[in-house]
């Protein structure tokens, strides 16, 4: 068996305000194998996005250890790419220039030495454009694209430097249901093709099951891992599987656990009394 590419051990994070300390994460343990597709779900405030941002190097944890191939995290790095929910594209650059943005950075330029490297890089940009179905839009500007196409550009841009790990923070959260389904199949295709390890945060349980090989269920106050599920679906997936009993059973289980941990309760009696009052 391979060694894990990410080891998260007893990781915690506290925010301090003047009056109180908030525990965003407590005692998080997780081992991620290369080429895994892990999805994170949980009620809001469970720290799933925070965990992802710590892995990206955008935030720091206050206790515990995170090792990436036995190395501790030291800020962001080209080995990890991140896709954000929105507003992350560069609207002044064309689609192609957005995808190639990382090539203008010193870290990437240092690794490009021969003419062959240059050609491979522009070949890769073309290939990614192709893979995302954006050929006709290479010279378009992001503002001319739909939300779904903008996210395709963001994914292509993140994949450009060949990251080992792709971190996705609710990347399809702003898309409509139909576009989202298309994006799901696209991202699974990318996962197969690029052999990337993907960590995917979402609030949509169905999305988490359909995409993930494992689902990490988190709970708030303090942010922690509540349970980890293996998804009982084959590696090859199609939209019909969402109707299979195993899928629905898992969805029911996870949804009820989220409801238990969310701490948000609706008092139905109170609600019906209000409506009765309105009738009179």
């Amino acid at each position: 068996m391979d060694k894990p590419c990410i080891s998260i051990r007893q990781v915690g994070k506290q925010f301090g305000t003047r009056t109180q300390t908030i525990e965003a994460l407590r005692g998080v343990n997780l081992e991620v194998m290369p080429n895994e597709f892990i999805t994170f779900v949980g009620a809001s405030g469970c720290g799933k996005s925070t965990l992802l941002r710590i892995l990206a190097g955008l935030e720091t944890h206050t206790s515990g250890d995170i090792l990436l191939r036995d190395q501790p995290i030291d800020g962001p790095g080209v080995d990890r790419a991140m896709v954000f929910q929105h507003y992350s594209l560069y609207p002044w650059l064309t689609v192609m220039k957005n995808i190639q943005f990382s090539r203008s950075l010193k870290v990437t330029m240092d690794s490009i030495q021969t003419q062959g490297d240059v050609e491979r890089a522009s070949g890769r940009a073309d290939a990614l454009l192709n893979l995302m179905g954006l050929n006709a839009f290479a010279d378009a500007y992001p503002n001319q694209l739909s939300g779904g196409m903008q996210q395709r550009v963001a994914i292509a841009r993140a994949l450009m430097p060949r990251p080992d790990i792709l971190l996705m923070d609710e990347p399809f959260g702003a898309l409509d249901a139909q576009t989202r389904e298309v994006m799901h199949d696209l991202i699974r295709h990318v996962h197969r093709l690029e052999k990337t390890t993907i960590l995917f945060v979402t609030h949509d349980v169905e999305e988490a099951i359909y995409l993930g090989s494992r689902i990490v269920l988190m709970a708030p106050r303090p942010g922690r891992i509540e349970n980890i599920y293996d998804v009982p679906l084959p590696a090859e997936r199609n939209q019909d599987m969402k109707l299979e009993p195993a899928f629905i059973e898992l969805k029911r289980e996870i949804l009820s656990r989220i409801r238990e941990t969310s701490g948000v309760q609706t008092d139905l009696d109170q609600l019906s009394r209000l409506t009765q009052g309105a009738d009179k």
């Binding site: 962001p76 992350s88 950075l105 010193k106 870290v107």
Partner: protein, 280 residues
């Protein structure tokens, strides 16, 4: 084929009133022709009212000369009193002060908007100075700098610079964090983020800030030309006041307004050309 089936009561009826009302929708659309026509009406109506008011003899010409007298005065000024020189020296003073402000304010605002310690150090100071009236600095400026060109430029600079820095800072702070974090996760250094993300992203807002502040620079012209000037549009207005040449006061004010309008349109034109990627 038959004529299209029409349900009773759905026949197309000409309702011009309805169509006209569409332009009054909240944030409704206007054709560019309508915009031009309305703008022209807005500009011409006060002039027409002014002309009528004076032509019908309501106003004493000493207090309010008619448009004809003002035009005549401009013609006389151009031919015999060196209007072009006055315009030239005033444009020079305003532009010199504006360019010097921009050259300092742009990098300073860029660093204030990017690095919190720089902002925390400078912002209270700038806020403090910003409220000091530029006019009140005239005696000090005359003491320290003398009464040559640089003192006039300095007055306009004092009136413009401190506002400009704060606006530039705000423009820079408005760059979406996701754009910056995307670059960070691609391995960009701080210098690269400033050069490749923050600057290009803020550029349209910065141009807008320059467009607005150049207008403020013009409003300080008359104040600046209080300082022992013997030429310039502002000086001409002040001198005309002494001799009750109201027609020349009108002429000077209108000319400053016209130059301001032209500069504004030039900035807008540059913005449209340079930032065509922006959403309309």
């Amino acid at each position: 084929m038959n004529a299209p089936l029409q349900l009773p009561g759905t026949q197309a009826v000409d309702k011009p009133v309805r169509r006209r009302a569409r332009i009054w929708r909240i944030r409704g659309e206007l054709s560019s022709r309508t915009v031009v026509i309305l703008g022209a009406i807005g500009l011409c109506a006060p002039f027409l009212a002014w002309w009528l008011y004076t032509a019908l003899g309501f106003a004493d010409p000493i207090f309010m000369p008619g448009p004809g007298a003002v035009l005549e005065r401009i013609w006389h000024w151009w031919n015999n009193e060196g209007l072009l020189d006055d315009i030239g020296i005033s444009v020079y003073r305003v532009m010199a002060a504006f360019v010097i402000s921009a050259v300092i304010a742009l990098p300073m605002g860029l660093y204030m908007g990017t690095y919190r310690p720089v902002q925390a150090t400078l912002e209270p100071l700038i806020d403090f100075i910003r409220y000091m009236p530029a006019v009140a600095f005239i005696p000090l400026v005359m003491l320290w700098v003398g009464i040559d060109e640089s003192s006039k430029i300095l007055i306009i600079f004092i009136g413009t610079f401190f506002q400009m820095v704060l606006m530039v800072t705000e423009d820079v702070r408005r760059v979406p964090m996701a754009q910056i974090e995307a670059a960070q996760t691609m391995g960009a250094t701080r210098g690269e983020i400033i050069k490749l993300v923050i600057l290009p992203s803020a550029r349209p807002a910065l141009l807008d800030t320059l467009r607005i502040t150049v207008g403020w620079a013009w409003t300080y012209l008359v104040v600046a030309e209080l300082v022992a000037a013997n030429s310039g549009l502002g000086y001409a207005i002040l001198r005309a006041q002494r001799y009750m040449h109201t027609d020349k006061i009108f002429a000077g004010i209108l000319l400053i307004g016209l130059i301001g309008l032209l500069t504004d349109q030039a900035f807008r034109w540059i913005g449209r050309r340079a930032f065509h990627w922006q959403k309309r």
